[in-house]
């Protein structure tokens, strides 16, 4: 059991590296960051609508749409989904540029400024992948990369919203919290959150490859079992051991709830697309609804897991001795 042990000198909150430079809470900046994160989820949902409706190539040119950058085409059939996705994605690029510049101007934390630049580079890479998937007729790996980078960008947007929030900026984690155990279990909770992110990425890639006709459905379904096990393990550990740390308990509960929802949606997607929808003459509403919801909740699940990992890193105390190399430990003791 991870009993509390050691003196204060051995206690360490890993998140200290992220808060060495003090920052001030900027309400407008934070609200805008939350808005960008929400807009990203809308773009991901719009992208899922494009794939589920098999409309990815309904606009054959890129970056123009039927030869124009913004002219509204005949808004019918697959064009509705693809053109709308392009427009909201274009808006997101502008929003990301705005949040990046705003962050560079107001942020004192150097790593936050780099994160903002990283967000902008990611959204540009994402737009480029979107273009490549159109110009090269949706190669499965390019389309899957487009889906994966989309969710990576969503995680970055959510992280920016988290780091600019009042709770993050003003409430520094306490170094000695009564009733909070050191994380001495193996694997540690932080390792479990990283493992959760890893298996979710594998699942995202397998799902993307299946949706884009590059792979059969069974690896995605098989890995769903692995994802369920790892995420349930992580969430239950976080809830049972660190229930008195709000910043850890809340995302863990949300993660567990989203995992259950996602499994139900995955089952619905399997029924409507594979069991009943195989060989359907056209995309049918139940399949579209189930698969789009599965993608959107999948994105929320990944982002929640990233938030949990960050909060565990910041709030769960570990003993310095456990993370210091043996040689340094001897010097320190001497």
């Amino acid at each position: 059991m991870g009993e509390r042990r050691g003196s204060l000198a051995l206690v360490h909150q890993r998140g200290n590296a992220l808060k060495t430079t003090p920052s001030t809470y900027n309400s407008a900046h934070h609200t805008f960051a939350v808005f960008v994160a929400c807009a990203t989820l809308i773009v991901i949902t719009a992208g899922a609508l494009v794939t589920s409706n098999d409309a990815g190539l309904s606009v054959p040119d890129w970056p123009t749409s039927f030869g124009y950058l913004v002219k509204v085409p005949n808004f019918v059939g697959g064009v509705r989904y693809e053109w709308s996705h392009r427009m909201v994605a274009g808006t997101l690029v502008s929003l990301t540029l705005a949040i990046a510049i705003w962050t560079l101007l107001v942020e004192k934390r150097r790593w936050m400024r780099w994160l903002a630049v990283g967000a902008f580079c990611t959204v540009i890479a994402q737009a480029t992948l979107g273009g490549l998937t159109v110009l090269f007729f949706q190669p499965p790996w390019v389309s899957t990369a487009h889906a994966t980078v989309a969710q990576t960008f969503f995680c970055i947007a959510v992280a920016i919203a988290l780091f600019t929030g009042r709770n993050w900026v003003e409430d520094q984690p306490k170094e000695d919290q009564p009733g909070v155990e050191f994380d001495s279990r193996r694997p540690s909770l932080f390792t479990l959150t990283l493992l959760s992110i890893f298996v979710l990425y594998v699942q995202l890639i397998l799902g993307g490859m299946f949706r884009h006709h590059g792979m059969s459905w069974w690896p995605h379904v098989l890995n769903a079992g692995v994802v369920s096990f790892v995420l349930a393990w992580t969430a239950i550990r976080a809830i049972s051991v660190y229930s008195n740390i709000d910043a850890v308990r809340r995302p863990a509960i949300v993660m567990l709830s989203l995992l259950i929802t996602q499994l139900c949606l995955g089952f619905a997607a399997f029924l409507t697309r594979i069991a009943w929808g195989q060989g359907a003459a056209q995309p049918e509403l139940p399949m579209v609804a189930a698969t789009v919801a599965h993608v959107a909740v999948g994105a929320l699940l990944l982002a929640t897991t990233v938030v949990l990992a960050i909060q565990v890193w910041r709030n769960v105390p570990v003993a310095v001795a456990e993370r210091t190399p043996q040689a340094q430990r001897h010097v320190s003791v001497a």
Partner: protein
């Protein structure tokens, strides 16, 4: 603004320029060789004595309960009017339509002239006409749009060049050809996801597509031993061997069973 902030803004602006540059570098379409140039390069056709040619004909049947054709909902485009049903297995009174029948083997090294006449693929009622098409390598396929809506024509070949072009209403027909042999090459419209058809590209003129009565006829075949292939988009391929003598008319019937689900 400090020096680091300025530097970060510069990086962001450079990234934006990178995007614009990428956007500008759109993929150039390969220009296929013109049919005339291809004809000029093609070897001379092997002569066939018209006095000895044979005919192979027959009927393709479907064994068992015919699948019910799925109704298609075209409400997402008001310009798509009328009834529409999926055409993946079209059976009437046990006769199977839309089966591509061709001489798969037995022609040896014979070569054939590419017909100068184009084969027409029409888009009407948000449906392809015909659903299954045969064409020779290098032969022109004239693609027309008779609907009051934009379609896009997107073949997804394994062995030929993939392309995807939109065709607005009342626009001039598109003229395309396929350089390599390919059977059941899928063509779809990404704007109307129910629109699907198949083009079969072969090197000889000895092919046919079964009509709604399941009938086909291949004329002008030189005497010899042949393998006739019957290909259906869902039910797969079945082959039969046949020997035809001078001026023969042979009947070669075929039947398909329902595919195991």
């Amino acid at each position: 603004m400090n020096k680091k902030t300025s530097w970060m803004i510069s990086v962001s602006v450079l990234a934006l320029c990178g995007l614009l540059l990428t956007a500008a570098c759109t993929k150039k379409e390969e220009q296929p060789a013109s049919p005339a140039a291809e004809t000029a390069m093609a070897p001379a056709a092997t002569p066939i004595d018209p006095a000895t040619v044979a005919t192979v004909n027959g009927t393709v049947k479907f064994d068992g309960m015919a699948p019910k054709e799925a109704k298609i909902d075209m409400s997402q485009d008001p310009a798509c009017k009328g009834m529409n049903e999926a055409e993946n297995v079209v059976v009437a009174n046990g006769d199977l339509a839309n089966v591509f029948v061709y001489v798969k083997d037995g022609l040896g090294s014979r070569t054939f002239d590419v017909p100068k006449d184009a084969v027409v693929l029409d888009q009407s009622g948000c449906k392809y006409h015909p659903h299954v098409l045969g064409v020779m390598t290098g032969q022109t396929v004239e693609i027309k749009n008779d609907d009051q809506t934009t379609h896009n024509i997107h073949p997804t070949p394994k062995d030929n060049r993939e392309w995807n072009e939109s065709q607005p209403p009342s626009s001039a027909p598109l003229e395309k050809n396929f350089a390599r042999e390919e059977i059941m090459l899928p063509v779809k419209c990404n704007q109307h996801p129910w629109m699907k058809m198949y083009i079969n590209v072969v090197k000889s003129p000895f092919y046919a597509v079964t009509d709604k009565n399941g009938k086909y006829e291949i004329k002008g075949l030189p005497p010899g031993d042949y393998t006739i292939a019957f290909v259906q988009e869902k039910l797969g391929e079945q082959d039969q061997k046949v020997t035809v003598g001078p001026k023969d008319t042979k009947t070669v019937d075929q039947s398909f069973k329902a595919a195991a689900e």
